[in-house]
Symmetry: C2
Subunit: 330 residues, 2 copies
Protein backbone atom coordinates (compact mmCIF):
# COMPACT_ATOMS: atom_id res chain seq x y z
CA UNK A 1 0.00 0.00 0.00
CA UNK A 2 2.16 2.93 1.23
CA UNK A 3 1.08 5.33 -1.46
CA UNK A 4 -2.63 5.58 -0.82
CA UNK A 5 -4.13 8.47 1.12
CA UNK A 6 -5.67 7.29 4.38
CA UNK A 7 -8.85 9.18 3.50
CA UNK A 8 -9.22 7.10 0.32
CA UNK A 9 -8.70 3.89 2.28
CA UNK A 10 -11.30 4.93 4.85
CA UNK A 11 -13.75 5.71 2.04
CA UNK A 12 -13.06 2.31 0.50
CA UNK A 13 -13.64 0.57 3.83
CA UNK A 14 -16.74 2.61 4.67
CA UNK A 15 -18.24 1.75 1.28
CA UNK A 16 -17.95 -1.97 2.05
CA UNK A 17 -19.32 -2.22 5.58
CA UNK A 18 -22.89 -2.11 6.83
CA UNK A 19 -24.25 -0.77 10.09
CA UNK A 20 -26.36 -3.16 12.17
CA UNK A 21 -28.44 -2.85 15.33
CA UNK A 22 -26.64 -1.51 18.37
CA UNK A 23 -24.35 0.96 16.58
CA UNK A 24 -25.62 4.55 16.24
CA UNK A 25 -22.54 6.07 14.57
CA UNK A 26 -20.02 4.02 12.61
CA UNK A 27 -16.94 4.86 10.54
CA UNK A 28 -16.17 8.54 9.93
CA UNK A 29 -16.26 10.37 13.24
CA UNK A 30 -13.68 10.63 16.06
CA UNK A 31 -15.29 7.59 17.71
CA UNK A 32 -18.10 5.10 17.12
CA UNK A 33 -21.30 5.40 19.16
CA UNK A 34 -22.76 2.25 20.78
CA UNK A 35 -26.48 2.41 21.58
CA UNK A 36 -26.78 2.33 25.36
CA UNK A 37 -28.31 4.47 28.10
CA UNK A 38 -26.26 6.67 28.40
CA UNK A 39 -24.51 6.08 25.04
CA UNK A 40 -20.97 4.70 24.92
CA UNK A 41 -18.35 5.80 22.42
CA UNK A 42 -15.30 3.80 21.29
CA UNK A 43 -12.14 4.97 19.51
CA UNK A 44 -9.15 2.97 18.24
CA UNK A 45 -5.88 4.56 17.11
CA UNK A 46 -2.40 3.08 16.74
CA UNK A 47 1.07 4.54 17.11
CA UNK A 48 3.59 2.79 14.89
CA UNK A 49 7.39 2.89 15.12
CA UNK A 50 9.02 4.89 12.29
CA UNK A 51 5.59 6.22 11.24
CA UNK A 52 4.20 7.98 14.33
CA UNK A 53 7.33 7.94 16.50
CA UNK A 54 11.03 7.13 16.51
CA UNK A 55 12.98 5.74 19.45
CA UNK A 56 15.49 8.57 18.94
CA UNK A 57 12.97 11.17 20.07
CA UNK A 58 10.51 9.12 22.17
CA UNK A 59 11.04 6.99 25.27
CA UNK A 60 8.90 3.90 26.02
CA UNK A 61 6.99 6.02 28.55
CA UNK A 62 6.37 8.69 25.88
CA UNK A 63 5.02 6.06 23.49
CA UNK A 64 2.72 4.54 26.11
CA UNK A 65 1.44 7.94 27.18
CA UNK A 66 0.82 9.11 23.62
CA UNK A 67 -0.92 5.91 22.48
CA UNK A 68 -3.47 6.35 25.26
CA UNK A 69 -3.66 10.15 24.95
CA UNK A 70 -4.64 10.19 21.28
CA UNK A 71 -7.60 7.90 22.01
CA UNK A 72 -8.64 9.80 25.14
CA UNK A 73 -8.67 12.85 22.87
CA UNK A 74 -10.98 11.17 20.34
CA UNK A 75 -13.37 10.13 23.11
CA UNK A 76 -13.31 13.65 24.59
CA UNK A 77 -14.07 15.08 21.14
CA UNK A 78 -17.39 13.19 21.22
CA UNK A 79 -18.09 14.69 24.65
CA UNK A 80 -17.64 11.40 26.52
CA UNK A 81 -15.70 10.56 29.69
CA UNK A 82 -13.16 7.72 29.42
CA UNK A 83 -14.05 4.43 31.16
CA UNK A 84 -11.83 1.62 29.84
CA UNK A 85 -8.78 1.19 27.63
CA UNK A 86 -7.68 -2.00 25.85
CA UNK A 87 -4.04 -2.03 24.81
CA UNK A 88 -2.40 -4.07 22.04
CA UNK A 89 1.40 -3.99 22.32
CA UNK A 90 3.42 -5.44 19.46
CA UNK A 91 6.96 -5.31 20.75
CA UNK A 92 9.72 -4.84 18.19
CA UNK A 93 13.29 -6.09 18.70
CA UNK A 94 14.47 -2.59 19.68
CA UNK A 95 12.40 -2.88 22.84
CA UNK A 96 14.81 -5.53 24.09
CA UNK A 97 18.05 -4.91 22.21
CA UNK A 98 20.09 -3.01 24.78
CA UNK A 99 17.50 -2.60 27.49
CA UNK A 100 15.81 -4.79 30.07
CA UNK A 101 12.53 -5.85 28.41
CA UNK A 102 10.60 -5.93 31.67
CA UNK A 103 11.75 -2.41 32.52
CA UNK A 104 10.67 -1.18 29.08
CA UNK A 105 7.22 -2.78 29.40
CA UNK A 106 6.90 -1.40 32.94
CA UNK A 107 7.81 2.11 31.75
CA UNK A 108 5.41 2.01 28.80
CA UNK A 109 2.45 0.74 30.83
CA UNK A 110 3.48 2.84 33.85
CA UNK A 111 3.10 6.07 31.88
CA UNK A 112 -0.15 4.84 30.41
CA UNK A 113 -1.48 3.93 33.87
CA UNK A 114 -0.49 7.37 35.20
CA UNK A 115 -2.53 9.05 32.47
CA UNK A 116 -5.38 6.55 32.91
CA UNK A 117 -5.51 7.24 36.66
CA UNK A 118 -5.48 11.00 36.05
CA UNK A 119 -8.44 10.76 33.67
CA UNK A 120 -10.58 8.15 35.50
CA UNK A 121 -9.88 5.42 32.93
CA UNK A 122 -9.04 1.74 33.58
CA UNK A 123 -6.56 -0.26 31.51
CA UNK A 124 -8.89 -3.23 31.34
CA UNK A 125 -7.31 -5.67 28.90
CA UNK A 126 -5.61 -6.16 25.57
CA UNK A 127 -2.95 -8.26 23.96
CA UNK A 128 0.82 -8.53 23.63
CA UNK A 129 2.95 -10.00 20.88
CA UNK A 130 6.40 -9.80 19.41
CA UNK A 131 6.73 -8.14 15.98
CA UNK A 132 9.31 -6.77 13.58
CA UNK A 133 8.52 -3.19 14.73
CA UNK A 134 6.90 -1.75 17.81
CA UNK A 135 3.29 -0.73 17.55
CA UNK A 136 0.79 0.20 20.25
CA UNK A 137 -2.91 0.08 19.37
CA UNK A 138 -5.29 1.39 21.99
CA UNK A 139 -9.08 1.30 22.17
CA UNK A 140 -10.75 3.70 24.60
CA UNK A 141 -14.39 3.23 25.54
CA UNK A 142 -16.10 6.28 27.03
CA UNK A 143 -19.50 7.10 28.41
CA UNK A 144 -21.66 10.19 27.81
CA UNK A 145 -23.03 12.03 30.82
CA UNK A 146 -26.75 11.20 31.29
CA UNK A 147 -28.93 13.18 28.91
CA UNK A 148 -26.03 14.50 26.82
CA UNK A 149 -25.95 13.23 23.21
CA UNK A 150 -22.58 12.58 21.51
CA UNK A 151 -21.26 15.58 19.56
CA UNK A 152 -20.52 14.67 15.95
CA UNK A 153 -18.41 16.34 13.28
CA UNK A 154 -21.52 16.75 11.18
CA UNK A 155 -23.50 19.08 13.46
CA UNK A 156 -22.02 22.41 12.27
CA UNK A 157 -24.47 24.98 10.83
CA UNK A 158 -23.94 28.13 8.74
CA UNK A 159 -23.26 31.02 11.08
CA UNK A 160 -21.62 28.92 13.81
CA UNK A 161 -18.39 30.26 15.25
CA UNK A 162 -15.36 27.99 14.98
CA UNK A 163 -13.34 27.92 18.20
CA UNK A 164 -10.29 26.08 19.44
CA UNK A 165 -9.29 25.22 23.02
CA UNK A 166 -5.87 26.16 24.43
CA UNK A 167 -3.07 27.13 22.05
CA UNK A 168 -1.47 25.46 19.04
CA UNK A 169 1.97 24.76 17.65
CA UNK A 170 3.74 23.55 20.81
CA UNK A 171 3.96 19.94 19.61
CA UNK A 172 5.33 21.05 16.23
CA UNK A 173 7.96 23.25 17.90
CA UNK A 174 8.77 20.52 20.43
CA UNK A 175 9.41 17.96 17.69
CA UNK A 176 11.70 20.42 15.86
CA UNK A 177 13.71 20.80 19.08
CA UNK A 178 13.79 17.03 19.74
CA UNK A 179 15.03 16.41 16.20
CA UNK A 180 17.73 19.06 16.62
CA UNK A 181 16.40 21.23 13.76
CA UNK A 182 17.54 24.25 15.81
CA UNK A 183 19.64 24.78 18.94
CA UNK A 184 17.59 24.82 22.15
CA UNK A 185 19.66 27.48 23.95
CA UNK A 186 17.85 30.39 22.31
CA UNK A 187 14.45 28.96 23.27
CA UNK A 188 13.60 29.50 26.96
CA UNK A 189 10.37 27.47 26.57
CA UNK A 190 12.24 24.44 25.10
CA UNK A 191 11.38 22.15 28.02
CA UNK A 192 7.65 22.84 27.84
CA UNK A 193 7.63 22.54 24.04
CA UNK A 194 9.40 19.17 24.09
CA UNK A 195 7.00 17.96 26.79
CA UNK A 196 4.04 19.07 24.66
CA UNK A 197 5.25 16.77 21.88
CA UNK A 198 6.26 13.84 24.06
CA UNK A 199 3.33 13.88 26.49
CA UNK A 200 0.27 15.54 24.94
CA UNK A 201 -2.57 16.28 27.39
CA UNK A 202 -5.96 15.37 25.95
CA UNK A 203 -8.93 17.62 26.77
CA UNK A 204 -10.76 14.94 28.77
CA UNK A 205 -12.78 17.32 30.95
CA UNK A 206 -13.28 20.10 28.40
CA UNK A 207 -14.92 17.77 25.84
CA UNK A 208 -17.73 16.62 28.17
CA UNK A 209 -18.20 20.20 29.46
CA UNK A 210 -18.65 21.56 25.92
CA UNK A 211 -20.97 18.66 25.02
CA UNK A 212 -23.20 19.32 28.03
CA UNK A 213 -23.58 22.95 26.90
CA UNK A 214 -24.84 21.78 23.52
CA UNK A 215 -22.10 22.78 21.09
CA UNK A 216 -23.02 21.96 17.48
CA UNK A 217 -19.96 20.01 16.27
CA UNK A 218 -16.63 18.98 17.72
CA UNK A 219 -13.49 17.04 16.82
CA UNK A 220 -9.91 16.97 18.02
CA UNK A 221 -7.30 18.65 15.87
CA UNK A 222 -4.69 15.94 15.82
CA UNK A 223 -3.55 16.37 12.21
CA UNK A 224 -3.60 20.18 12.16
CA UNK A 225 -6.31 22.78 12.76
CA UNK A 226 -6.66 23.61 9.05
CA UNK A 227 -7.08 20.05 7.75
CA UNK A 228 -9.29 19.03 10.67
CA UNK A 229 -11.54 22.08 10.24
CA UNK A 230 -11.85 21.21 6.56
CA UNK A 231 -13.00 17.71 7.59
CA UNK A 232 -15.53 19.17 10.03
CA UNK A 233 -16.87 21.47 7.28
CA UNK A 234 -17.20 18.57 4.82
CA UNK A 235 -18.97 16.38 7.41
CA UNK A 236 -21.35 19.27 8.19
CA UNK A 237 -21.95 20.13 4.52
CA UNK A 238 -20.95 23.77 4.98
CA UNK A 239 -17.98 25.95 4.10
CA UNK A 240 -15.52 27.16 6.71
CA UNK A 241 -13.31 30.21 7.09
CA UNK A 242 -10.09 30.02 9.10
CA UNK A 243 -8.46 33.31 10.10
CA UNK A 244 -4.74 32.79 10.63
CA UNK A 245 -4.54 36.13 12.49
CA UNK A 246 -6.79 34.67 15.20
CA UNK A 247 -4.99 31.36 15.74
CA UNK A 248 -3.76 31.10 19.35
CA UNK A 249 -0.04 30.38 19.11
CA UNK A 250 1.52 28.61 22.10
CA UNK A 251 4.32 30.31 24.06
CA UNK A 252 7.73 29.74 22.48
CA UNK A 253 6.42 28.74 19.07
CA UNK A 254 7.13 32.17 17.55
CA UNK A 255 10.81 31.88 18.46
CA UNK A 256 11.16 28.40 16.98
CA UNK A 257 9.26 29.44 13.84
CA UNK A 258 11.53 32.49 13.40
CA UNK A 259 14.65 30.32 13.72
CA UNK A 260 13.30 27.98 11.04
CA UNK A 261 12.03 30.71 8.71
CA UNK A 262 8.40 29.73 9.22
CA UNK A 263 5.34 31.87 9.90
CA UNK A 264 4.23 31.10 13.48
CA UNK A 265 0.46 31.16 12.81
CA UNK A 266 0.89 28.89 9.78
CA UNK A 267 3.01 26.46 11.78
CA UNK A 268 0.46 26.47 14.61
CA UNK A 269 -2.50 25.96 12.23
CA UNK A 270 -0.92 23.04 10.35
CA UNK A 271 1.62 21.42 12.71
CA UNK A 272 -0.79 18.94 14.28
CA UNK A 273 -0.49 16.69 17.34
CA UNK A 274 -1.63 19.37 19.79
CA UNK A 275 -4.86 17.46 20.60
CA UNK A 276 -6.85 20.60 21.19
CA UNK A 277 -10.59 20.56 20.42
CA UNK A 278 -12.10 22.34 17.39
CA UNK A 279 -15.67 23.34 18.18
CA UNK A 280 -18.51 24.83 16.13
CA UNK A 281 -21.11 26.66 18.20
CA UNK A 282 -23.81 29.32 17.88
CA UNK A 283 -22.44 32.72 18.95
CA UNK A 284 -24.87 32.93 21.89
CA UNK A 285 -23.23 29.86 23.46
CA UNK A 286 -19.70 31.31 23.48
CA UNK A 287 -19.79 33.09 26.87
CA UNK A 288 -21.24 30.01 28.58
CA UNK A 289 -18.58 27.77 27.06
CA UNK A 290 -15.82 30.18 28.04
CA UNK A 291 -17.14 30.35 31.60
CA UNK A 292 -17.24 26.56 31.86
CA UNK A 293 -13.65 25.92 30.74
CA UNK A 294 -10.44 26.40 32.66
CA UNK A 295 -8.61 27.08 29.40
CA UNK A 296 -9.02 29.76 26.69
CA UNK A 297 -11.55 29.14 23.92
CA UNK A 298 -10.51 31.24 20.94
CA UNK A 299 -12.67 32.12 17.92
CA UNK A 300 -10.60 31.23 14.83
CA UNK A 301 -13.26 31.25 12.13
CA UNK A 302 -16.84 30.72 11.11
CA UNK A 303 -19.03 28.27 9.19
CA UNK A 304 -20.92 29.58 6.17
CA UNK A 305 -23.43 28.50 3.54
CA UNK A 306 -21.66 27.14 0.51
CA UNK A 307 -19.88 24.10 -0.86
CA UNK A 308 -17.96 22.10 1.78
CA UNK A 309 -14.48 23.60 1.64
CA UNK A 310 -12.00 25.57 3.70
CA UNK A 311 -11.14 29.22 3.01
CA UNK A 312 -8.05 30.59 4.74
CA UNK A 313 -7.72 34.33 5.45
CA UNK A 314 -5.59 36.76 7.42
CA UNK A 315 -8.16 39.24 8.71
CA UNK A 316 -9.81 40.58 5.55
CA UNK A 317 -7.14 39.25 3.16
CA UNK A 318 -7.28 35.83 1.44
CA UNK A 319 -4.32 33.65 2.37
CA UNK A 320 -2.95 30.29 1.31
CA UNK A 321 -1.27 27.47 3.22
CA UNK A 322 1.45 25.28 1.73
CA UNK A 323 -0.16 22.30 3.45
CA UNK A 324 -3.27 21.94 5.61
CA UNK A 325 -1.65 19.42 7.95
CA UNK A 326 -0.91 15.70 8.04
CA UNK A 327 -2.50 13.62 5.33
CA UNK A 328 -1.59 10.08 6.37
CA UNK A 329 -0.65 7.49 3.81
CA UNK A 330 -1.29 3.80 4.18
CA UNK B 1 11.59 -8.31 24.62
CA UNK B 2 11.12 -11.49 22.49
CA UNK B 3 12.14 -13.93 25.18
CA UNK B 4 9.57 -13.21 27.84
CA UNK B 5 6.51 -15.41 28.29
CA UNK B 6 3.32 -13.51 27.55
CA UNK B 7 1.87 -14.68 30.87
CA UNK B 8 4.76 -13.00 32.73
CA UNK B 9 4.21 -9.77 30.77
CA UNK B 10 0.48 -9.85 31.54
CA UNK B 11 1.25 -10.36 35.24
CA UNK B 12 3.69 -7.45 35.13
CA UNK B 13 1.09 -5.23 33.46
CA UNK B 14 -1.75 -6.35 35.75
CA UNK B 15 0.39 -5.58 38.81
CA UNK B 16 0.81 -1.97 37.67
CA UNK B 17 -2.72 -0.98 36.73
CA UNK B 18 -5.67 -0.08 38.92
CA UNK B 19 -9.37 -0.64 38.29
CA UNK B 20 -11.62 2.41 38.51
CA UNK B 21 -15.37 3.01 38.44
CA UNK B 22 -17.19 1.66 35.41
CA UNK B 23 -15.10 -1.48 34.88
CA UNK B 24 -16.34 -4.69 36.55
CA UNK B 25 -13.71 -7.09 35.19
CA UNK B 26 -10.28 -5.94 34.03
CA UNK B 27 -7.15 -7.75 32.83
CA UNK B 28 -7.11 -11.55 33.01
CA UNK B 29 -10.28 -12.88 31.40
CA UNK B 30 -11.23 -13.38 27.74
CA UNK B 31 -12.71 -9.86 27.72
CA UNK B 32 -13.15 -6.88 30.01
CA UNK B 33 -16.59 -6.15 31.47
CA UNK B 34 -17.94 -2.58 31.34
CA UNK B 35 -20.63 -1.75 33.91
CA UNK B 36 -23.83 -1.13 31.97
CA UNK B 37 -27.39 -2.48 31.91
CA UNK B 38 -27.05 -5.05 30.34
CA UNK B 39 -23.26 -5.30 30.78
CA UNK B 40 -20.92 -4.83 27.82
CA UNK B 41 -17.74 -6.82 27.27
CA UNK B 42 -14.71 -5.77 25.20
CA UNK B 43 -11.85 -7.85 23.81
CA UNK B 44 -8.75 -6.80 21.87
CA UNK B 45 -6.45 -9.24 20.07
CA UNK B 46 -3.94 -8.69 17.29
CA UNK B 47 -2.71 -10.86 14.44
CA UNK B 48 0.85 -10.05 13.44
CA UNK B 49 2.68 -11.02 10.24
CA UNK B 50 5.37 -13.67 10.80
CA UNK B 51 4.07 -14.28 14.34
CA UNK B 52 0.41 -15.26 13.91
CA UNK B 53 0.33 -15.69 10.14
CA UNK B 54 2.51 -15.79 7.03
CA UNK B 55 1.51 -14.55 3.59
CA UNK B 56 2.59 -17.92 2.21
CA UNK B 57 -0.29 -19.69 3.94
CA UNK B 58 -2.82 -16.87 4.47
CA UNK B 59 -4.54 -14.57 1.98
CA UNK B 60 -5.57 -10.99 2.89
CA UNK B 61 -9.15 -12.26 3.26
CA UNK B 62 -7.96 -15.02 5.64
CA UNK B 63 -6.12 -12.45 7.76
CA UNK B 64 -9.12 -10.13 7.94
CA UNK B 65 -11.49 -12.97 8.78
CA UNK B 66 -9.21 -14.39 11.47
CA UNK B 67 -8.46 -11.05 13.13
CA UNK B 68 -12.18 -10.51 13.66
CA UNK B 69 -12.92 -14.18 14.46
CA UNK B 70 -10.49 -14.43 17.38
CA UNK B 71 -12.13 -11.43 19.04
CA UNK B 72 -15.67 -12.63 18.33
CA UNK B 73 -14.58 -15.86 20.03
CA UNK B 74 -13.38 -14.00 23.15
CA UNK B 75 -16.66 -12.08 23.37
CA UNK B 76 -18.66 -15.32 22.90
CA UNK B 77 -16.61 -16.94 25.67
CA UNK B 78 -18.00 -14.31 28.10
CA UNK B 79 -21.51 -15.17 26.88
CA UNK B 80 -22.01 -11.88 25.03
CA UNK B 81 -23.34 -11.14 21.55
CA UNK B 82 -21.08 -9.03 19.29
CA UNK B 83 -22.17 -5.44 18.60
CA UNK B 84 -19.25 -3.43 17.23
CA UNK B 85 -15.73 -4.01 15.95
CA UNK B 86 -12.95 -1.42 15.70
CA UNK B 87 -10.14 -2.38 13.33
CA UNK B 88 -6.54 -1.13 13.34
CA UNK B 89 -4.74 -2.06 10.12
CA UNK B 90 -1.00 -1.51 9.94
CA UNK B 91 -0.16 -2.31 6.33
CA UNK B 92 3.30 -3.73 5.63
CA UNK B 93 5.10 -3.29 2.30
CA UNK B 94 4.11 -6.84 1.21
CA UNK B 95 0.51 -5.68 1.03
CA UNK B 96 1.41 -3.50 -1.94
CA UNK B 97 4.53 -5.05 -3.47
CA UNK B 98 3.07 -7.05 -6.34
CA UNK B 99 -0.63 -6.55 -5.72
CA UNK B 100 -3.09 -3.71 -6.09
CA UNK B 101 -3.25 -2.14 -2.63
CA UNK B 102 -6.90 -1.20 -2.93
CA UNK B 103 -7.81 -4.77 -3.93
CA UNK B 104 -5.91 -6.12 -0.92
CA UNK B 105 -7.63 -3.72 1.48
CA UNK B 106 -10.99 -4.54 -0.10
CA UNK B 107 -10.37 -8.29 0.27
CA UNK B 108 -9.24 -7.98 3.89
CA UNK B 109 -12.19 -5.82 4.96
CA UNK B 110 -14.57 -7.70 2.67
CA UNK B 111 -13.95 -10.99 4.50
CA UNK B 112 -14.23 -9.20 7.83
CA UNK B 113 -17.52 -7.59 6.80
CA UNK B 114 -18.88 -10.97 5.67
CA UNK B 115 -18.16 -12.45 9.10
CA UNK B 116 -19.46 -9.32 10.84
CA UNK B 117 -22.72 -9.48 8.90
CA UNK B 118 -23.10 -13.20 9.67
CA UNK B 119 -22.70 -12.54 13.40
CA UNK B 120 -24.70 -9.31 13.78
CA UNK B 121 -21.62 -7.16 14.34
CA UNK B 122 -20.82 -3.74 12.83
CA UNK B 123 -17.33 -2.66 11.76
CA UNK B 124 -17.73 0.74 13.37
CA UNK B 125 -14.35 2.41 13.18
CA UNK B 126 -10.62 2.06 13.65
CA UNK B 127 -7.39 3.28 12.18
CA UNK B 128 -5.03 2.59 9.27
CA UNK B 129 -1.31 3.17 8.94
CA UNK B 130 1.68 1.98 7.01
CA UNK B 131 4.24 -0.12 8.93
CA UNK B 132 7.26 -2.36 8.37
CA UNK B 133 5.05 -5.47 8.80
CA UNK B 134 1.34 -6.08 8.53
CA UNK B 135 -0.65 -6.26 11.71
CA UNK B 136 -4.39 -6.22 12.32
CA UNK B 137 -5.62 -5.34 15.80
CA UNK B 138 -9.34 -5.72 16.39
CA UNK B 139 -11.49 -4.72 19.34
CA UNK B 140 -14.93 -6.32 19.60
CA UNK B 141 -17.54 -4.89 21.95
CA UNK B 142 -20.36 -7.24 22.87
CA UNK B 143 -23.52 -7.05 24.93
CA UNK B 144 -24.92 -9.59 27.40
CA UNK B 145 -28.54 -10.66 27.01
CA UNK B 146 -30.74 -8.94 29.65
CA UNK B 147 -30.43 -10.63 33.04
CA UNK B 148 -27.48 -12.83 32.04
CA UNK B 149 -24.23 -12.09 33.89
CA UNK B 150 -20.88 -12.46 32.06
CA UNK B 151 -19.31 -15.91 32.48
CA UNK B 152 -15.77 -15.66 33.84
CA UNK B 153 -12.88 -18.12 33.86
CA UNK B 154 -12.94 -18.03 37.64
CA UNK B 155 -16.41 -19.53 38.24
CA UNK B 156 -15.43 -23.22 38.12
CA UNK B 157 -16.19 -25.31 41.26
CA UNK B 158 -14.97 -28.73 42.41
CA UNK B 159 -17.19 -31.40 40.85
CA UNK B 160 -17.99 -29.40 37.72
CA UNK B 161 -17.75 -31.26 34.44
CA UNK B 162 -15.37 -29.84 31.86
CA UNK B 163 -16.87 -29.84 28.37
CA UNK B 164 -15.80 -28.62 24.96
CA UNK B 165 -17.95 -27.60 21.98
CA UNK B 166 -17.48 -29.12 18.54
CA UNK B 167 -14.28 -31.00 17.76
CA UNK B 168 -10.59 -30.16 17.99
CA UNK B 169 -7.45 -30.47 15.90
CA UNK B 170 -8.76 -29.33 12.52
CA UNK B 171 -6.83 -26.05 12.58
CA UNK B 172 -3.61 -27.86 13.54
CA UNK B 173 -4.07 -30.39 10.73
CA UNK B 174 -5.04 -27.65 8.28
CA UNK B 175 -1.88 -25.67 9.01
CA UNK B 176 0.25 -28.80 8.51
CA UNK B 177 -1.38 -29.24 5.08
CA UNK B 178 -0.98 -25.55 4.18
CA UNK B 179 2.71 -25.68 5.13
CA UNK B 180 3.19 -28.81 3.05
CA UNK B 181 4.30 -30.95 6.02
CA UNK B 182 2.52 -33.86 4.29
CA UNK B 183 0.98 -34.47 0.86
CA UNK B 184 -2.73 -33.64 0.69
CA UNK B 185 -3.70 -36.46 -1.69
CA UNK B 186 -4.01 -39.06 1.06
CA UNK B 187 -6.30 -36.75 3.09
CA UNK B 188 -9.87 -36.60 1.74
CA UNK B 189 -10.80 -33.94 4.34
CA UNK B 190 -7.91 -31.66 3.28
CA UNK B 191 -10.19 -28.88 2.03
CA UNK B 192 -12.20 -28.68 5.24
CA UNK B 193 -9.06 -28.85 7.39
CA UNK B 194 -7.37 -26.02 5.50
CA UNK B 195 -10.55 -23.96 5.77
CA UNK B 196 -10.68 -24.59 9.52
CA UNK B 197 -7.24 -23.03 9.85
CA UNK B 198 -7.75 -20.16 7.41
CA UNK B 199 -11.32 -19.23 8.38
CA UNK B 200 -12.08 -20.29 11.96
CA UNK B 201 -15.78 -20.04 12.95
CA UNK B 202 -16.21 -18.53 16.39
CA UNK B 203 -19.01 -19.89 18.62
CA UNK B 204 -20.97 -16.63 18.60
CA UNK B 205 -24.39 -18.17 19.29
CA UNK B 206 -23.24 -21.06 21.50
CA UNK B 207 -21.50 -18.75 24.01
CA UNK B 208 -24.63 -16.69 24.79
CA UNK B 209 -26.77 -19.86 24.88
CA UNK B 210 -24.47 -21.49 27.45
CA UNK B 211 -24.31 -18.28 29.50
CA UNK B 212 -28.09 -18.00 29.65
CA UNK B 213 -28.24 -21.55 31.06
CA UNK B 214 -25.89 -20.54 33.89
CA UNK B 215 -22.69 -22.46 33.17
CA UNK B 216 -20.08 -21.90 35.89
CA UNK B 217 -16.99 -20.92 33.88
CA UNK B 218 -16.15 -20.51 30.21
CA UNK B 219 -13.27 -19.49 27.94
CA UNK B 220 -12.30 -20.12 24.36
CA UNK B 221 -9.55 -22.63 23.69
CA UNK B 222 -7.46 -20.62 21.27
CA UNK B 223 -4.02 -21.76 22.46
CA UNK B 224 -4.90 -25.43 23.00
CA UNK B 225 -7.47 -27.21 25.18
CA UNK B 226 -4.85 -28.39 27.67
CA UNK B 227 -3.19 -25.03 28.32
CA UNK B 228 -6.49 -23.16 28.31
CA UNK B 229 -8.09 -25.62 30.75
CA UNK B 230 -5.06 -25.18 33.02
CA UNK B 231 -5.70 -21.41 32.92
CA UNK B 232 -9.37 -21.91 33.76
CA UNK B 233 -8.40 -24.16 36.69
CA UNK B 234 -5.92 -21.59 38.01
CA UNK B 235 -8.44 -18.77 37.71
CA UNK B 236 -11.04 -20.87 39.53
CA UNK B 237 -8.60 -22.02 42.24
CA UNK B 238 -9.30 -25.71 41.60
CA UNK B 239 -7.49 -28.63 39.97
CA UNK B 240 -8.57 -30.04 36.63
CA UNK B 241 -8.40 -33.46 35.01
CA UNK B 242 -8.25 -33.75 31.22
CA UNK B 243 -8.96 -37.19 29.74
CA UNK B 244 -7.27 -37.51 26.35
CA UNK B 245 -9.45 -40.54 25.53
CA UNK B 246 -12.51 -38.27 25.62
CA UNK B 247 -11.21 -35.43 23.45
CA UNK B 248 -13.40 -35.01 20.35
CA UNK B 249 -11.03 -35.22 17.39
CA UNK B 250 -12.19 -33.50 14.20
CA UNK B 251 -12.68 -35.56 11.03
CA UNK B 252 -9.45 -36.04 9.10
CA UNK B 253 -7.14 -35.17 12.00
CA UNK B 254 -6.32 -38.82 12.72
CA UNK B 255 -5.00 -39.31 9.17
CA UNK B 256 -2.83 -36.21 9.31
CA UNK B 257 -1.54 -37.16 12.77
CA UNK B 258 -0.66 -40.68 11.57
CA UNK B 259 1.25 -39.29 8.58
CA UNK B 260 3.23 -37.03 10.92
CA UNK B 261 3.80 -39.68 13.62
CA UNK B 262 1.67 -37.81 16.16
CA UNK B 263 -1.04 -39.05 18.51
CA UNK B 264 -4.36 -37.60 17.25
CA UNK B 265 -5.85 -36.87 20.70
CA UNK B 266 -2.64 -35.15 21.80
CA UNK B 267 -2.54 -33.08 18.64
CA UNK B 268 -6.21 -32.15 19.09
CA UNK B 269 -5.74 -31.24 22.77
CA UNK B 270 -2.69 -29.04 22.22
CA UNK B 271 -2.84 -27.79 18.62
CA UNK B 272 -4.82 -24.64 19.35
CA UNK B 273 -6.61 -22.15 17.08
CA UNK B 274 -9.85 -24.16 16.93
CA UNK B 275 -11.77 -21.45 18.85
CA UNK B 276 -14.08 -23.94 20.49
CA UNK B 277 -15.45 -23.13 23.96
CA UNK B 278 -14.24 -24.86 27.14
CA UNK B 279 -17.02 -24.88 29.71
CA UNK B 280 -17.24 -25.91 33.36
CA UNK B 281 -20.74 -26.78 34.52
CA UNK B 282 -22.57 -28.78 37.21
CA UNK B 283 -23.52 -32.24 35.91
CA UNK B 284 -27.26 -31.51 36.21
CA UNK B 285 -26.91 -28.73 33.62
CA UNK B 286 -25.37 -30.94 30.93
CA UNK B 287 -28.58 -32.22 29.27
CA UNK B 288 -30.02 -28.69 29.09
CA UNK B 289 -26.83 -27.36 27.53
CA UNK B 290 -26.72 -30.20 25.01
CA UNK B 291 -30.34 -29.61 24.08
CA UNK B 292 -29.71 -25.89 23.53
CA UNK B 293 -26.72 -26.26 21.18
CA UNK B 294 -26.65 -27.23 17.54
CA UNK B 295 -23.20 -28.73 18.01
CA UNK B 296 -21.87 -31.56 20.23
CA UNK B 297 -20.83 -30.72 23.80
CA UNK B 298 -18.35 -33.37 24.92
CA UNK B 299 -17.28 -34.07 28.50
CA UNK B 300 -13.46 -34.10 28.48
CA UNK B 301 -12.71 -33.83 32.20
CA UNK B 302 -13.69 -32.61 35.63
CA UNK B 303 -12.73 -29.96 38.19
CA UNK B 304 -11.62 -31.15 41.63
CA UNK B 305 -10.58 -29.85 45.03
CA UNK B 306 -6.86 -29.35 45.18
CA UNK B 307 -4.09 -27.00 44.15
CA UNK B 308 -4.73 -25.21 40.81
CA UNK B 309 -3.08 -27.49 38.27
CA UNK B 310 -3.89 -29.71 35.30
CA UNK B 311 -3.70 -33.50 35.48
CA UNK B 312 -3.77 -35.35 32.14
CA UNK B 313 -5.05 -38.93 31.93
CA UNK B 314 -6.08 -41.54 29.39
CA UNK B 315 -9.07 -43.16 31.02
CA UNK B 316 -7.75 -44.44 34.35
CA UNK B 317 -4.06 -44.08 33.42
CA UNK B 318 -1.94 -40.97 34.09
CA UNK B 319 -0.58 -39.47 30.87
CA UNK B 320 1.80 -36.68 29.95
CA UNK B 321 1.85 -34.12 27.14
CA UNK B 322 5.01 -32.83 25.53
CA UNK B 323 3.47 -29.36 25.49
CA UNK B 324 0.13 -28.02 26.72
CA UNK B 325 -0.30 -25.67 23.76
CA UNK B 326 0.90 -22.28 22.63
CA UNK B 327 2.75 -20.23 25.22
CA UNK B 328 3.25 -16.92 23.45
CA UNK B 329 6.44 -14.97 23.82
CA UNK B 330 6.68 -11.21 23.67
Amino acid sequence: VHAVHESAVIQLIASRVGTRTGVDVGIGDDAAVIACEPPLVAAHDMVVEDVHFRWGTSSPADVGHTALAVNLSDVAAMGARPVAALVGLAAGPDLGADRDPSAVVAALYGAMEELAAATGCTIAGGDTSSAAVTMVGVTVIGRMDPGVPPVLRSGGRPGDLVCVTGALGASWAGLALLRGDLPADGVPEAGALRAAHRRPRPRTTEGPALASLGVAAMMDCSDGLAIDLERLARASGVSAVLDLDSVPVAAGVAGVAAALGRDPAEAAATGGEDYELVVALPEALLPHCRAALGTPLTVVGRLDEGPPALRVVRGATPATLETLGWEHRV
